[in-house]
């Protein structure tokens, strides 16, 4: 039998913004032994809904199983499997590079080639901010490596599907096409509504 091919796969998961959601999701991946390569979470335009982008490393079977298990979670509103559609993805990295009086100009020049911004200037180091896809960030870091990389921090990838193929339901973007989130969000809104009407007793 040939080994299934493993590669990085990108998922966006829209979740209810409630306690323990992150734990539930990561616990699910952990228990089943799926390795999360990167995870980034942020709010969406819709109150009560957060969006995670997860990069899972594994073969197609692993990712399909992960999606089906995730779909069963009550907190999960929608899962977007980016392997099925065209998408844009970005990652932000902060890189602190050692400099000497001799290397300073060259380092700055490379950074400029990458359209990178300097966010901190020290006597012995410059800190750059770079955004882009994975390949660009990796290339940047490789270019800087000979000068001495002191520290890096990457945010993890974030992704959206391309064009008018909106990930999120129309009543969030007012006039898009998809309505898939509506039933889940209606329940959420009803609960928020109730919660708002209630004075905090403590």
């Amino acid at each position: 039998m040939t080994e299934p091919i493993s590669y990085d796969q990108l998922l966006s998961i829209l979740v209810r913004d409630e306690p323990r959601v992150l734990t539930r999701i990561t616990a699910l991946f952990g228990r089943r032994g799926y390795n999360i390569k990167s995870l980034s979470v942020g709010n969406t335009e819709h109150p009560g809904v957060s969006r995670m982008t997860i990069v899972v490393h594994g073969d197609r079977g692993v990712v399909e199983q992960a999606i089906r298990q995730l779909e069963k979670l009550h907190d999960v509103v929608k899962i977007i499997d980016h392997s099925l559609e065209k998408y844009v993805d970005r990652e932000l990295v902060l890189v602190k590079v050692a400099i000497t009086p001799e290397s300073r100009v060259e380092v700055r020049q490379i950074a400029e080639d990458f359209r990178s911004r300097i966010v901190d200037v020290g006597r012995h180091a410059l800190t750059f901010e770079v955004t882009g896809d994975e390949g660009k960030l990796t290339a940047f870091i490789e270019q800087m490596r000979p000068f001495g990389i002191l520290e890096t921090m990457r945010t993890g990838r974030i992704a959206l599907t391309r064009g008018s193929n909106a990930d999120i339901a129309s009543h969030i973007y007012h006039g898009g096409e998809s309505d898939t989130l509506r039933p889940a969000l209606e329940g959420l809104e009803a609960r928020e509504e109730r919660a708002r009407g209630v004075p905090n007793l403590f």
Partner: protein, 595 residues
């Protein structure tokens, strides 16, 4: 009326008075048709227990351990198909529910667990009897909640009930801080959510399944626990096509055992016919099951010649373990009805004949031993009786030997294999169906894990629970593995010197006891035990070292099964069948330690 007994204030109407979170909880449960809850009180859930006195329409059953409450609620749910409810206080009370929740998760039992917790301002401070029960139960519940606002409490309960019952059922836990239980509640009491519709399978998937069935030469149906509510439709389907049916441990009763098409149970202790059928089949149609490893044996050797049709509600189960050629996602009932239309009948006479030949090979235990005793007991059951089992050899023997005609008459811990499950589950089922006999077969080991629930029988004067302990003085199933795979080193499995006198134990709780130690004594003892107007206990003392066969050793394929007991064959040969029964085990833990 248990809890309310003796607590009704004299000469004064009970007044529900001002609504609190705790009262809203009971009102919501009552609105959802919950008539019985199993539980155990404590500090952090006292407002709920106090409010209970205002809701006589809900019966509270005080078990003697929270694990007993959880399994009783499971027994209730497994027998009725309705949700079971259990209750516990914070910390140790809540953690005592954990085994029951894990069990319910594995076996897809709709369960609502309600736990008290410390007041909100104490949560997260390691306060007295605080445990992060939602954290602890995260992987073993379908969903769980901490109620942080009293205004959300009734809605959350309603939603929890919906989630527990929806789709593939499972346990949901709601943790309620004590101050939320006490807080005033001004809102409405919610009515039940409509049950979410179960999606029907796509026409395309049904068409593909039909195509495959029509081209089959050796088809077989394998029905699991998820097929129980479609038993009638599956029976019609199998009969329309003449397809033989295997029912898994969880699916026993999904197809009538009296039907010639029934082949028994598959897997580790499955029947010869079932396991051969799987190994030879060219089309295997699994319905409502998850291909547990105890069923498949070595996955690579499972149904090696078959194309697989998998009818299953939970998409995550399709293709999880076994490659599936035709996935049919959706309601098993609808699928069975659609697949019945256009059936071809009787087109594989050779296959049916071959299976019958294998079926005839099933041995009936004809010499004194655990199998003999279990068979004598299950032969006395009627199709309406509920049979629970605990976990071990007696469980596998009961599963092999009992003949179920209907679904939801067989309760056991399939996925988790929880010792201590059987007896409290029988109590729960017995309380759900007081007019029905609720029989439990347990081992001497497992019974002692929840034996304290004898008190529950006494307290509520439950009369329809019949306990049968198969006493082999061993943790029998572990001993069998030690015998077969660990050079007969019987490490820590001998109970014989320390078992209680089970009849005296029962007597201490006013439960009548009967005992049989030989084939001659057994029929009389069974008669007396079943005829007793009260719940009663029967201890059957059996030889120490019997094994359960057939058996597929762990890691082997189904076709590598050991069909019959090799020891028995040797015994017969050596004419040792009448060896004294109470001899000491061949090697005890003490000897092992000495060695």
């Amino acid at each position: 009326m248990g809890q309310a007994d003796g607590q009704e204030p004299s000469g004064q109407e009970l007044s529900r008075g001002e609504m609190t979170g705790a009262k809203a909880l009971w009102a919501t449960l009552a609105n959802h048709g919950i008539t019985t809850v199993f539980g155990y009180p404590g500090g952090a859930i006292m407002p709920v227990y106090d409010a209970l006195t205002f809701y006589p329409e809900v019966r509270h059953v005080l078990t003697r351990h929270e694990q007993g409450a959880a399994h009783a609620a499971e027994g209730w749910a497994k027998a009725t198909g309705e949700i079971g409810v259990c209750l516990a206080t914070s910390g140790p009370g809540a953690t005592n529910l954990v085994t029951g929740l894990a069990d319910a998760m594995m076996d897809s039992v709709p369960l609502l667990a309600i736990t008290g917790n410390v007041a909100r301002h104490l949560m997260g401070t390691d306060a007295f009897q605080e445990a992060d029960i939602t954290g602890i139960t995260l992987p073993i519940t379908k969903h769980n909640y901490v109620v942080r606002d009293v205004e959300e409490l009734p809605q959350i309960i309603a939603e929890a009930i919906r989630i527990a019952r929806a789709g593939r059922p499972g346990p949901v836990l709601v943790d309620i801080p004590k101050d939320v239980q006490l807080a005033a509640y001004a809102g409405a009491i919610p009515s039940p959510h409509a049950r979410p519709e179960i999606p029907a399978p796509s026409d395309e998937s049904i068409e593909r399944a039909l195509e495959l069935l029509r081209s089959a030469k050796k088809p077989v149906i394998m029905a699991g626990g998820g097929s129980l509510d479609a038993a009638a439709e599956i029976t019609a389907l199998a009969r329309a096509w003449d397809i033989p049916v295997i029912t898994t441990l969880m699916g026993l009763g999904a197809f009538p055992a009296s039907d010639p098409l029934w082949l028994g149970m598959p897997g580790m202790h499955g029947s010869v016919a079932a396991n051969r059928a799987i190994s030879e089949a060219d089309v295997l149609m699994g319905i409502g099951l998850r291909f547990d490893d105890r069923v498949t044996g070595r996955v690579g050797g499972f149904a090696p010649n078959a194309s697989i049709i998998h009818i299953e509600l939970d998409a995550a189960e399709i293709g999880k373990i076994i490659r599936t050629h035709v996935p049919v996602r959706g309601d098993a009932k609808v699928a069975a009805v659609k697949l019945t239309e256009g059936a071809l009948k009787g087109v594989w006479p050779d296959w049916t004949a071959q299976l019958q030949e294998w079926k005839d090979r099933n041995e009936t235990p004809d010499h004194w031993g655990a199998g003999y005793a279990v068979k004598a007991v299950v032969d006395r059951l009627t199709p309406d009786d509920i049979l629970s089992s605990d976990v071990g050899q007696h469980q596998m023997l009961a599963a092999q030997l009992a003949r179920f005609e209907k679904p939801r008459r067989w309760l056991n811990s399939g996925g988790l294999g929880t010792m201590g499950f059987g007896f409290p589950a029988a109590i729960g089922a017995g309380m759900a169906e007081p007019g029905v006999r609720s029989v439990v077969i347990a081992g001497d080991g497992g019974f002692q894990m929840t034996a304290q629930e004898l008190a529950t029988l006494k307290m509520y004067d439950i009369r329809n629970v019949k306990i049968c302990i198969i006493n082999n003085s061993f943790l029998g199933m572990v001993r069998q593995w030690q015998e077969m795979f660990h050079g007969k080193r019987y490490s820590e499995v001998w109970l014989g010197d320390s078992n209680p006198d089970f009849l005296k134990l029962a007597d201490a709780y006013d439960v009548p006891g009967y005992r049989a130690s030989s084939a001659e004594e057994l029929p009389g003892a069974i008669d007396a035990w079943l005829a007793d107007p009260k719940s009663a206990l029967l201890e059957v003392v059996v030889p120490h070292e019997h094994g359960v066969f057939p058996m597929v050793p762990a890691g082997a394929a189904l076709y590598e099964m050991i069909e019959s007991d090799p020891r028995r064959a040797a015994e017969l040969k050596a004419q040792l069948a009448d060896a004294p029964m109470n001899e000491a085990p061949t090697s005890t833990a003490a000897e092992v330690n000495d060695a």
